[in-house]
């Protein structure tokens, strides 16, 4: 195309010019010269940062070991009954080897998954509609805003009364915990959609439904993923609380049961597992989000 080539010269050729001016050999040489020293420095700096992080964790462990072995008593807080890291690692190892761990983890995972999925579906759907329809926002937001500050723990007595099984009441608590971050982030994302994008889509022939699926959903997606990631964290947080009161299995139940039977090291093992599971599932959501939105990372 004659007309196209002349136009590309301005922009595309600029990009290529760096490649074309240097001969392959001199380019290779300059690359070597450039990369040899700085990259080594970069690697060293990278390792330095990893080292610092590792050292920070190690220092915490050492502090803990010291406090628990000397039965440190500061008056306000005492380490007399706190197990040492060594005991905790031993307890963790025993739990990992026993079949109990799998049943506890799978019970918790199932509840989190069930509550989270329902919360995600409800939160995204409601959030999209509330963000787009003023009358629906007026109808639904007041009761939702009233419910929002009520912590999931406060729901426990009522949910036991409301639901036939403790299993469903625990899933409900997880759902309540995850719902609000997802809902609010979705509303926020939908309200932030560039109205010019919507106008353009309409000028290109989009109807109501296409505006939702082709413009609003993808434009709000980064915000929704943030909501899902936060919601996943709160889902774990709420589930563990529910399990402590109503459960017979699950990692929260395990932690609380360890306290009642005075297996103090197991308390911390339970806590660590909660932390690991919560962190892992939030990271998974983030990762999935990045895979689904390769365009989003480009923009920042």
């Amino acid at each position: 195309m004659a007309l196209s080539s002349s136009f590309r010269s301005a922009e595309t050729d600029l990009r290529q010019s760096t490649k074309e001016t240097a001969s392959p050999q001199s380019l290779l040489q300059s690359l070597r010269q450039q990369s040899a020293l700085p990259s080594f420095e970069i690697i060293l700096r990278q390792w330095g940062r990893y080292g610092l992080r590792l050292a920070s964790v190690a220092a915490c462990l050492l502090l803990w070991q010291w406090a628990s072995s000397t039965h440190l008593n500061l008056g306000l807080i005492t380490f007399q009954n706190v197990p040492s890291p060594k005991e905790v690692i031993q307890a963790a190892w025993t739990l990992v080897q026993s079949p109990k761990l799998l049943s506890h983890l799978s019970a918790s995972l199932y509840r989190v998954f069930a509550g989270f999925v329902v919360a995600a579906l409800a939160g995204i759907l409601l959030g999209m509609l509330i963000g787009r329809m003023r009358w629906l926002a007026d109808v639904l937001l007041p009761p939702l805003e009233l419910l929002r500050p009520i912590p999931a723990v406060a729901w426990i007595p009522l949910s036991i009364l409301m639901f036939p099984s403790s299993e469903i009441s625990m899933i409900y608590i997880t759902f309540i915990g995850a719902l609000f971050p997802i809902l609010l982030n979705t509303i926020h994302g939908v309200e932030g959609v560039d109205s010019r994008l919507i106008a353009s889509a309409r000028s290109l022939g989009s109807g109501r439904r296409a505006i939702f699926t082709e413009v609003i959903l993808p434009a709000a997606a980064p915000s929704i993923v943030t909501g899902l990631s936060i919601g996943m964290g709160t889902a774990w947080f709420c589930l563990v609380t529910a399990e402590m009161i109503a459960g017979q299995f699950g990692i929260g139940y395990y932690t609380w049961a360890s306290y009642t039977i005075q297996n103090y090291a197991d308390i911390i093992v339970g806590m660590l597992f909660i932390g690991i599971m919560g962190m892992g599932s939030s990271a998974l959501i983030k990762k999935l989000g990045n895979l689904l939105m390769p365009w989003y990372l480009l923009q920042r």
């Binding site: 003023r134 109205s195 000028s203 997606a221 365009w295």
Partner: protein
Amino acid sequence: MTTEQFGKVDIDHLHIELGERQRRFEALHDVSISIAPGEFVCVLGPSGCGKSTLLGALAGHLEASAGSVRVDGAVVAGPHPDRGLVFQHHTLFPWKRVLDNVAFGLKMKGIARGERHQRARGLLKLVGLEDFEHSYPAHLSGGMQQRVEIARVLINHPRVMLMDEPFGALDAQTRLKMQELLLEVWARIETTILFITHDIDEALFLADRILVMSPRPGRIIEEIRLDFPRPRGPELVTSPRFTELKRHCLALLHPETKVVPLQRLSPLGAADLRDIQFAI
């Protein structure tokens, strides 16, 4: 392909008021324009004069307070792919690759994936971006983004192309290239173009006819017919006739009386865009 007789625009005693209650103001005052099919018309005016409002009314995003806007006899009652809109800053979907952005209009018509990609490739070739179909918009320069935007509008074979200072955000060099590109594309596709700008050189270089607007409330204060032969090249801008007309436009746009700069209007109306968001 008999698009030639399509694209006749008739704007008849159009008044447009924008804003809520006491902040309501008249953006356009008694504007009447008639544009022939395939004509290239530039609207020239100071910022805030309502030229973008005029475009918004034609696009169907703004409602007429009085008077009418018709394209090929049919009253404009909302956005339609027949009237393609190009903004100053691109509105490409960041989550779609270039090819799918261009093919979007065909997707809305329910055309199968294979065919719409094929036709989108044809348009990318027309604007010189056939090598960038797999890129995301964020990968492209400002000029390339606007070229994709133009291709995306053209895939619908619009009767009228409405352009709101489309090259206003580009650097001078790229802007000249884009103007030449637009003229070449327009020579091939025979669509009516209504082009908003505040750049006198741009208007003189591109248009068959220039409509000069007054500050708010916007009115057409002068109509200038340009008979420069086409195809036009860069040498045109140094010709004596060009300079003479430029001087004339300058005098029209910058009279002795000082005008307070007004808030910029968009084709979507005044500042509160949320009203439009909820309007669909």
